[in-house]
């Protein structure tokens, strides 16, 4: 049996409310909240980035796995906000956790699906027998340009998953990926903010890939939506994942636990992976999870997981995702938020 042996998440303590952003730009908060289903989002502290978020999530994953970090043979961090243009994020993480130096490390990038991409490769290493354990992480401190709709959603957080063969807590039953060249969202080198195709990010991008991946994954697994206790999809806003899930036959009750976007925002590479951690926090042995990520550019990775009896032994070994989201919160006004996110120019 190959699957997840340990998982962990991390979200920063800082928040900004959608109403604070709407006040800044004169937007109609009622229309924003109704359109995006977003109340607030996480904001990284001044001393937090993709690396520190990944380290925090990975430490929680190691706690749950209960393994010697030295046994981890590969570490992949998926992010669109790696702090360096040239120098890996993963090398900092392996030294911080005491993994390696006998370890394969790579940083992945694929807009919002870099995290599931890292999970996919980590899982494949273990399945092929290349190594006993491999870790895939999705983490981001995403940016939205001032006044852009993305500002309501672009947030910070991450999730880490250790895959292995022994003491599995959630078996991987099936995987599937669906990819095409679709220019719906991009950021060119040296550009601070991404650009997007507005409405083009919807049907031709998000829905085409999520549904393309999701439908084939259901066919391939010979399962139907009602076979799953939970489903989680990439969450660029509140509405898209609920609509995509509904089209695939899932009910709101199956999606609520992993649907974190209204209080977390879109953690990009950490989005559906973080949602998955919230599900693993409460899932019961034997229950199944349907997960489909989405990354602009564009593609989707799909996974079907089945919880094993061991899941209940590890759920309380590290902080739970919804507890972190509902725990310590420090709200920022727009001025502080702009300074935190370096949206104003400082003397260098």
């Amino acid at each position: 049996m190959v699957g997840i042996v340990g998982y962990g998440a991390y979200v920063p303590a800082f928040r900004i409310k959608a109403s604070t952003i709407a006040d800044q730009w004169g937007d109609d908060i009622v229309a924003i909240e109704r359109g995006l289903l977003m109340k607030e989002k996480t904001v990284p502290g001044k001393d937090e980035d993709t690396i520190t978020i990944s380290v925090a999530a990975a430490k929680n994953a190691v706690k749950r796995a209960g393994i010697d970090p030295q046994k981890i043979g590969a570490v992949y961090i998926g992010s669109e906000s790696h702090p360096y243009a040239v120098k890996p994020s993963g090398t900092v993480l392996v030294d911080a956790l005491g993994i390696g130096p006998n370890v394969h490390v790579a940083d992945f990038e694929f807009a919002c699906k870099a995290g599931s991409e890292a999970m996919f490769v980590a899982y494949s290493h273990v399945k092929s027998g290349n190594m006993d354990y491999a870790m895939g992480i999705g983490s981001d401190t995403s940016q939205g340009a001032p006044g852009d709709a993305l500002e309501y959603s672009a947030s910070a957080g991450g999730a880490a998953f250790i895959f292995g063969k022994d003491n599995v807590i959630a078996e991987v039953l099936h995987t599937y990926s669906y990819t095409s060249d679709t220019a719906d969202f991009w950021r060119r080198e040296y550009q601070h903010y991404p650009r997007h195709g507005g409405r083009f990010t919807g049907e031709p991008a998000y829905f085409k890939h999520i549904l393309g991946c999701g439908k084939t994954l259901l066919e391939k697994s010979k399962m139907k939506a009602s076979d799953f206790a939970y489903a989680v999809f990439h969450m660029p806003n509140g509405k898209f994942p609920l609509k995509a899930g509904e089209i695939l036959g899932f009910k709101k009750e199956q999606m609520e636990q992993g649907w974190l976007v209204n209080i977390m925002g879109n953690t990009y590479s950490g989005s559906s992976p973080t949602g998955l951690t919230a599900i693993l926090d409460v899932i019961k042995p034997g229950e199944k999870v349907f997960m489909v990520s989405f990354g602009s550019g564009a593609g989707s990775d799909g996974f079907i997981f089945k919880a094993t009896p061991r899941i209940t032994q590890v759920q309380n070994k590290a902080p739970k995702t919804r507890d972190m989201l509902n725990g310590k919160k420090i709200y920022l006004d727009y001025g502080k938020y702009a300074a935190f996110r370096r949206k104003i120019k400082f003397l260098e």
């Binding site: 800082f14 001044k46 001393d47 380290v55 911080a96």
Partner: protein, 129 residues
């Protein structure tokens, strides 16, 4: 300001809290040549659990160049459960919640950036628990 080779050398204690325990029992972080009481030089490596309490603290409003964007920030002298005493920023808190004796946990954060093109320094800071 740190430079890349020095930063790399300090990774064991800054990233992983690898400290030393002297024959007399004293625990220190970072590593040093002789124990704080000047009584012995032999030591073994131990890894701190990262839990401790605030012995004293202050709020920094005017900082050196590489920390100006971080102000205001709290700095505390912390005693870990193992007895090591170290200095670290206390972050993600309201300053009113800082108290002598408050329990803290050491976490992994960005310490500073060496300008816009230099390396990014990571290490330990503390949060209230």
């Amino acid at each position: 300001m740190a430079i890349s080779p020095r930063y790399t050398r300090e990774i064991p204690h800054r990233y992983r809290l690898e400290a030393q325990q002297f024959e007399c029992g004293a625990v220190t972080l970072p590593n040093r040549y002789i124990c704080p009481d000047n009584c012995c030089k032999k030591s073994k490596k131990i890894t701190l659990k990262g839990k401790g309490k605030i012995l004293t603290y202050t709020i920094i409003y005017i900082a050196s160049d590489q920390y100006t964007r971080a102000t205001p920030f709290a700095v505390a002298v912390i005693e870990t459960e193992e007895g090591a005493r170290l200095t670290a920023q206390v972050v993600d808190c309201n300053f009113d919640d800082l108290k002598i004796g408050a329990k803290v946990e050491l976490i992994f954060r960005k310490i500073m950036e060496e300008g816009a093109s230099g390396i990014i320094n990571y290490g330990y800071k503390a949060i209230l628990v």
